[in-house]
């Protein structure tokens, strides 16, 4: 943001104090969410999420790979976010790299759980084909096409939608393969198995401006933030990841009630998102 004048800053802060933001929303209401799935035919699953003016695309590609020796029965998932210069002229060349590494690590922290794989949104052991030999490697790619604040939540929602749209081909392992080296695997391209994405958490970012915190902040509001906490919560209400980004210190009690507020908000968001995904899947079938 090229920098707001003092008048604009006090206008935004004042609005938030009276629970009436510049675009008329309340402190805890979201901008209109619009989800579209299956937009990248060559990917195993893809989705595009528009959250107000923020527009992101997520694509999931599954490729065969060798599991990590220390976790032979689990597949591998890697998340990489790319900020396109179309969103912000300063993302040109290597400008957007710092933000994309930050977003990638925040997403990995929220969606993939601990190193042992427990608490991951996706059940990694379902990705394993032959223990220790062959497994599915999921490459999740995010692209920020247009950014008007709250990019992390939009990416979280896009990845959740893309995973629910993902179709992993069924795999047969030819039995006679000699034990040690790679067994041949033929991939059938008719029947696919869907992912159960109920466990995938949704990310809610609470931005603290002045005395209060708001949800789904636009770029102007984000420029006024003193600090921000992104919490990822799954359907069971358990917290799968938390990142307090930058800025002024927060009292521990403030963080705790921010978490409870996030849990409350995440239920509505979860239902809204699931209905949008179902609608998108429906119109997706109708098209293909």
């Amino acid at each position: 943001m090229v920098g707001l004048s003092l008048g604009e800053q006090t206008f935004i802060k004042g609005g938030i104090d009276q629970d009436l933001r510049t675009d008329g929303r309340k402190r805890l209401t979201y901008r209109p969410i619009f989800v579209e799935t299956g937009i990248i035919p060559q990917a195993s699953g893809s989705a595009r999420v528009k959250l107000g003016a923020t527009d992101v695309i997520a694509s999931v590609k599954a490729e065969l790979g060798k599991p990590n020796p220390s976790y032979p029965d689990k597949g591998k998932v890697s998340i990489y976010v790319d900020c396109s210069p179309t969103a912000e002229p300063s993302f040109e060349g290597r400008g957007g790299e710092e933000l994309s590494t930050e977003l990638s690590s925040a997403l990995e922290r929220c969606l993939l759980g601990g190193k042992s794989g427990a608490g991951a949104g996706i059940d990694l052991s379902s990705l394993c084909i032959v223990r220790g030999k062959v497994c599915w490697d999921l490459y999740i790619d995010g692209l920020v096409v247009s950014s008007d604040g709250n990019v992390l939540d939009a990416l979280g929602a896009a990845i959740k939608a893309a995973l629910s749209d993902t179709a992993i081909p069924k795999v047969q392992v030819s039995a006679n393969a000699p034990s040690d080296e790679q067994p041949e695997v033929d991939v059938s391209d008719e029947e696919f198995l869907q992912f159960d994405t109920s466990g995938v958490p949704v990310i809610v970012t609470l931005t603290k401006v002045g005395g209060h915190y708001i949800v789904d902040a636009t770029t102007e509001e984000e420029s006024q933030m003193s600090s921000a906490v992104s919490v990822s919560i799954n359907r069971l209400g358990r917290i799968c990841g938390l990142t307090k980004r930058g800025g002024a210190g927060l009292h521990p009690t403030v963080i705790l009630d921010m978490i409870s507020a996030a849990k409350h908000v995440s239920e509505q968001l979860m239902n809204k998102l699931d209905s949008e995904i179902a609608a998108a899947e429906a119109c997706d079938e109708m098209e293909s």
Partner: protein, 241 residues
């Protein structure tokens, strides 16, 4: 590999002279001054234009005309195999330069001295003919940004396989090793601003293939005019004139 079967149909069921399905949408990136999505069949490109705005580094500033800068980047998921190419690899720099030169020719830069116009093109889905799709998307985005241009620039590619000239190649036909002619024209002024070809082709077949590609560009031009007209009507109705 048989690209044109006996009945004269291509792999994806099109006739040799037939374009892929075109689709365009204007104003997709709200924060950009001008933006557009352009789809040619499965190839999908989004373009955003920022400018005319202040020049970032003084050294490149010229005081009699605007500085046009362009960056072409491909999304990681845009091609079949997931490749993580570093940002500034040779192919993207070359295509950025081609797009910059083509658009610079048609923008009236002397009207906006000491300013800078940024054109960012992001390929979402690459299925052959990405260069042409980028130029068409850039033209639409510039028009959306209200930047004065002598004429819109439209581009299309054509090839020559199994003895028949083919219009608007897709990825399979493009990577079949046959010649690939990319033409960029100013339709109203009937001038050619971009002509690129790789691998060998006899002179006379080159004439027909280039003629075919120019026809393709004219078809794209009429479609783009339609879209722009439609968009202006919408702007009018929205402003309640």
């Amino acid at each position: 590999m048989e690209f044109v079967n006996p009945e004269g149909l291509r792999l994806d069921g099109r006739r040799p002279m037939e374009m892929r399905q075109l689709r365009a949408e204007i104003g997709v990136v709200s924060k950009a001054d001008g933006s557009a999505v352009f789809e040619m069949g499965n190839t999908k490109v989004i373009a955003a234009v920022y400018g005319p705005r202040e020049v970032q580094n003084r050294s490149q500033q010229s005081n009699d005309q605007a500085l046009v800068r362009c960056e072409y980047s491909m999304a990681n998921f845009s091609t079949g195999d997931r490749m993580r190419k570093p940002k500034g690899d040779r192919r993207s720099t070359e295509i950025s330069m081609v797009i910059r030169q083509t658009m610079e020719a048609c923008i009236l830069t002397h009207l906006m001295p000491r300013s800078q116009i940024d054109i960012f093109v992001q390929v979402l889905q690459a299925d052959g003919g990405t260069r042409s799709a980028c130029i068409n998307a850039a033209t639409l985005a510039l028009a959306d940004a209200g930047i004065p241009m002598t004429d819109i620039v439209t581009s299309c590619s054509a090839g020559f396989l199994n003895g028949t000239p083919l219009l608007d190649l897709n990825y399979v036909e493009d990577s079949a090793g046959g010649p690939d002619v990319t033409v960029g024209i100013l339709p109203k002024l009937d001038k050619v601003t971009l002509l690129q070809m790789d691998s060998k082709l006899q002179m006379e077949t080159f004439e027909t293939v280039m003629q075919l590609a120019t026809e393709g560009c004219k078809a794209v031009a009429s479609y783009i005019r339609e879209v722009l007209l439609e968009n202006t009507k919408q702007l009018e109705s929205r402003r309640g004139v």
